[in-house]
């Protein structure tokens, strides 16, 4: 342990102020009374003792910190509350200091300073020694066994009364005329008083809450990651094991998981708030539901709006139709956003169909695709013939093309 030769540990017990005099006396083997008398005498020499005491405080070491170091000598017992002697010493010093300041002329007036002093005393009394504060359990906390220590209830109450008294004096001094205005001011001052009483506790507990929240966020993040991996990757791996003899299903599962994990890791599509993201999400969805590959290509992009929703619904219907009826493993989706319209193609190389022979039972085409697009002012064309695949062509004019996402 490296201590400067001058340094000594301040006393933590049997002290009047910070334990500087006692610490010095202990270090050098003199009676503490001698040191104190010397300090008092020095005061007569133009208040020099204040400087000496301050220097002594700066040179000495904090006994609590010293005690925590390994190999430190016997740990001093923690000072047991404020002894009456110490309290009196503090009050004397405070009053003396106040009188000195008053003599120098830097003074705001007797009434004001008295009021401020009473407020300060009240705050000091009420906020003494506590580390945790919970407004809901304030009354039970001020029990003798509570964290506020002995006589806490009495102390808090008297502190609050002192604060209220102080602010009342302050309010009276400002000489507000009229009972109504006085009432309002008194209420406001009471609020200030309460804030002064509970402020220190609140500040301390807010600090603790912040630290606690940081810890909680960290562990929540970890839990969220574990939960996500469990819900996604582990589930998929389990599904893959169970579908090992079905290569197509396995591939679909793996593809979906890959995209999902990639999105999650790199946040490429936080949510389908753009048309391109929505089209990709749709493609993944159809892939997982219908065991097909959906090759989706989007050129340009724009924020998702009513036109986007309409177009996406029609594209989805066309894609699902192809997945269900074309009898192929692959569907191509192409969406191009241009300045005045959106164009979309959904294409498969499947068996195709003859419009005339299936029109009655294929409600999807007329309802979900054609009507939907036409209601929105667009056009839908379906090109298909048996054995040559199907292509659905959608063209939707944009009414407000201004919000196109700039590439």
């Amino acid at each position: 342990m490296t201590t400067r030769p001058l340094a000594f540990a301040r006393r933590t017990d049997r002290r009047l102020l910070a334990g500087v005099a006692g610490g010095f006396a202990d270090q050098h083997g003199v009676d503490v009374l001698v040191v104190r008398v010397a300090l008092v005498l020095l005061t007569l020499a133009g208040g020099l003792s204040v400087v000496v005491y301050a220097v002594g405080f700066a040179c000495s070491s904090d006994p609590m910190k010293t005690a925590k170091r390994p190999g430190a000598a016997a740990i001093a017992p923690v000072d047991e509350g404020a002894s009456p002697r110490r309290t009196i010493a503090f009050v004397c010093i405070a009053v003396g200091a106040a009188l000195v300041v008053r003599a120098t002329g830097v003074w705001l007036g007797d009434t004001l300073m008295l009021a401020l002093a009473i407020v300060a005393a009240g705050v000091a009394l009420a906020s003494a020694r506590t580390t945790s504060f919970d407004a809901r359990h304030l009354w039970s906390m001020t029990d003798d066994k509570g964290p506020f220590g002995r006589h806490a209830r009495w102390r808090v109450l008297s502190g609050a009364v002192l604060v209220a008294l102080g602010v009342l004096i302050l309010g009276a001094r400002t000489g507000v005329p009229g009972d109504v205005r006085f009432g309002a001011v008194a209420t406001a001052l009471s609020v200030v008083g309460v804030a002064l009483v509970f402020g220190p506790w609140l500040a301390r507990s807010a600090q603790e809450v912040t630290e606690e929240r940081r810890q909680r966020i960290r562990s929540e993040e970890r839990a969220a990651m574990a939960a996500h991996l469990h819900d996604s990757v582990l589930q998929t791996l389990a599904l893959i094991q169970r579908n090992a003899n079905d290569p197509r299903r396995t591939v679909t599962l793996a593809r979906r998981q890959e995209r999902e994990l990639r999105d999650w890791l790199y946040g490429t599509s936080a949510g389908p708030d753009t048309l391109s993201a929505a089209v990709r999400a749709m493609a993944e969805d159809v892939e997982s539901l219908h065991d097909v590959r959906v090759d989706a290509v989007v050129v340009g992009d724009r924020a998702m709006d009513e036109s986007g929703v309409t177009l996406l619904a029609a594209v989805r219907e066309a894609t699902v139709n192809a997945a269900k009826h074309a009898g192929v493993h692959e569907v191509s989706v192409f969406v191009e956003v241009r300045s005045g319209d959106i164009e979309a193609f959904v294409r498969d190389r499947g068996q195709g169909f003859d419009r005339g022979s299936v029109a009655s039972d294929r409600k999807g085409i007329s309802e979900s695709i054609e009507s939907r697009i036409e209601r929105a002012g667009g056009t839908a064309e379906i090109e298909s013939s048996p054995g040559r695949g199907t292509e659905v062509h959608l063209l939707l004019p944009l009414t407000h093309a201004a919000d196109e996402v700039a590439p």
């Binding site: 050129v299 191509s332 192409f334 191009e336 193609f345 294409r347 590439p407």
Partner: protein, 209 residues
């Protein structure tokens, strides 16, 4: 034809090898950039099928290092990466085409044959990237020849993005397959050589999946 495979996933490599070994002679494999450069320099294959993402620099680094001494070796990018930025970087480094790893074995064999024959191979996704990159008119194109797609090239790119094969595009546009291949090669050249500032800005800014 002699083919070299570069991919950091051993399992995937052996899968591709199994799929194409009936059609081509697979002369070597590698999992890292350095291994690949050494292997390709030693075996001098006709076509290198290269992954976009690799430990130690990626497919782009391999292409750049090999092209200096062996400009005749052809590269085909094969990747799970859907990122426009990565794909465009590999194409600009000199790959003759880009296909995704979900490609069917038959299509992959065909794609290798076509890049070897000097054609460009565009997957629908790459065609989409190209349309995106060349979209919008430049106020003052530095080189109109390179910085813009012709109307015909745009037609071809759109059809490829819609899932059409070259043959289907040719039928649709009443052109020969050879003409389509010429257009696609022209687009590839523009993608590789264009100074269109939007192309780089787009590749950097755009966070397409």
């Amino acid at each position: 034809m002699r083919v070299f495979l570069v991919d950091d996933h051993t399992l995937f490599r052996s899968g591709v090898r199994a799929e194409i070994s009936d059609a081509y002679e697979v002369v070597g494999e590698a999992g890292t950039v350095d291994e690949a450069v050494a292997g390709i320099t030693a075996t001098l294959p006709d076509v290198v099928v290269v992954d976009v993402h690799l430990p130690g620099g990626g497919g782009k680094a391999i292409i750049e290092r090999i092209k200096r001494d062996h400009p005749d070796i052809t590269f085909l990018a094969l990747s799970v990466s859907d990122s426009a930025e990565d794909v465009v970087a590999v194409i600009r480094a000199g790959a003759r085409g880009y296909v995704t790893k979900t490609i069917q074995a038959v299509e992959l064999i065909d794609a290798i044959r076509r890049v070897h024959a000097g054609d460009a191979v565009f997957s629908p996704r790459l065609a989409g990237f190209v349309l995106d990159a060349f979209s919008g008119a430049l106020p003052t194109p530095e080189d109109p020849e390179l910085d813009q797609l012709t109307a015909r090239e745009q037609d071809v790119m759109r059809l490829i993005a819609r899932g059409y094969t070259y043959r289907e595009v040719a039928t649709r546009l009443h052109l020969s397959v050879k003409t389509i291949e010429t257009h696609v090669s022209a687009v590839l050249r523009k993608l590789q050589l264009s100074n269109r500032h939007e192309l780089t800005a787009w590749a950097a800014d755009r966070r397409l999946l």
